[in-house]
Amino acid sequence: MKKELLFTFLLAAAALALLAGNALVVQVLRSNLSSKPDFLSASLSPLQKGDRLERIETQGSWYLVRNARGAKGYIHQSAVTASKVTLGSIAPGPKGASPDELALAAKGFDEANEKKLRNSKGYNFSDLNWVMEQEVAVPALAQFIRDGRLK
């Protein structure tokens, strides 16, 4: 009886993995679940890197999706990638590094190497921080578009 249960469960998991084409993961640091397929529409919920979404349908370059809490909304294709379930997303690996992190470290374009660079001559990370802090909120953008008769 228990074996049967296990077998059924394995089958279901395999089927889920096959259907994973509809599983998306946010690939940018920050995004939004938008109320309409439009960047200037109201945000239903903030999203961050790694958040999982289920694709319901495609509308042009936007996806209608459902988030983990069941809320429906839109996200632009450039903000997501097809989801891969990895060991790291289930349990942390030895010493806390997930396979994703290991794969990334193998490529060398990462935070750790940036830290090493901070002590090198010819790099100005403090001014870069100022540049990266310059943000524009969506309502200000919408106002700027209206005032300037832009699209």
């Binding site: 349990a91 794969a103 060398g108 010819g122 870069l128 540049v131 310059q134 300037g148």
Partner: protein, 276 residues
């Protein structure tokens, strides 16, 4: 609890792959020459990190012009253009800033960190001309031109490191990181992209300007000014094809726009211009 354990086991069975392709590592270890398959596709997060480093390198060579109000104006224009581009969302978001340098120039670091020099900002006569410069730079980011400046041997070299070397304090991976930064900075500041890449960026900028509601003719207006500077043998967009060549292919592709709409942005540009 048992169910959870089962679910975890199932997920493991179905989808776990070794983090590093051991076959590739083994092949790589055999000889210095590597198969093309060992090279990596740079993902969004890696592009962000190499971009930050390239931007910090540019800021190590040119002083940042920390004018909050003007920088905000550039970011408003740039963000609107980015939203209408083929790559509206990018890992760390688009950022626009000014360099305190007299020559007319603009640079895009990977990941959407875009710099305009004080010289090019001073050259613009209205918001649409500023937008034209930004649109050209955004197009380079949309098609990932800065990443294409990394020599393929760098990424192939990364494929040769074993897991231990990569995770530990590998000077090898750090060396490749530094070399890749130099490849990109060298292309942005001196070598330049190919003529084809520049032409695509200009033609893409025309479409992008129109999509955002700006006058595509502003790119032509800007190029004419750059041409005038070049005639005086002064430095302007030194890593780009000559303005005359760019005018030749841009000129025939400019869609007409309503001049009244362009004038609608005059007042806020005047405020900006006063601060230049």
């Amino acid at each position: 609890m048992k169910k959870l354990l089962l679910a975890a086991m199932c997920a493991l069975l179905v989808s776990w792959k070794p983090p590093i392709d051991l076959g590739k590592v083994a092949k790589a270890k055999k000889g210095a020459e590597l198969v093309a398959g060992a090279s990596h596709k740079i993902n969004e997060e890696e592009e962000y990190h190499i971009g930050r480093a390239v931007a910090a390198n540019i800021l190590g060579q040119y002083p940042l012009w920390k004018n909050g109000e003007l920088t905000r104006y550039l970011n408003l224009i740039g963000r609107i253009l980015a939203l209408r581009s083929g790559r509206p969302e990018i890992y760390g978001g688009y950022h626009f800033a000014m360099l305190d340098a007299p020559e007319a120039n603009a640079f895009s670091a990977p990941g959407g960190i875009i710099f305009l020099t004080r010289g090019i900002v001073a050259m613009a006569a209205d918001e649409d001309e500023l937008a034209a410069v930004l649109a050209h730079e955004i197009q380079h980011i949309v098609v990932k031109d800065p990443l294409k400046a990394i020599r393929s041997q760098r990424l192939k070299a990364l494929g040769t490191f074993t897991a231990g070397e990569a995770v530990g304090s590998s000077s090898g991976a750090f060396g490749v990181f530094q070399d890749s930064i130099m490849d990109i900075s060298g292309t942005l500041l001196q070598k330049g992209y190919s003529r084809g890449q520049e032409k695509d960026a200009d033609l893409g900028a025309l479409k992008l300007l129109a999509a955002a509601g700006y006058d595509p003719g502003a790119l032509l207006d800007m190029l004419k000014k750059i041409q005038a500077v070049e005639k005086k043998k002064l430095k302007a967009f030194s890593a780009h094809p000559s303005a005359a060549k760019r005018i030749a292919y841009v000129g025939g592709n400019v869609a007409a726009a309503d001049p009244a709409l362009r004038r609608a942005r005059a007042a806020r540009f005047e405020k900006f211009a006063a601060g230049r």
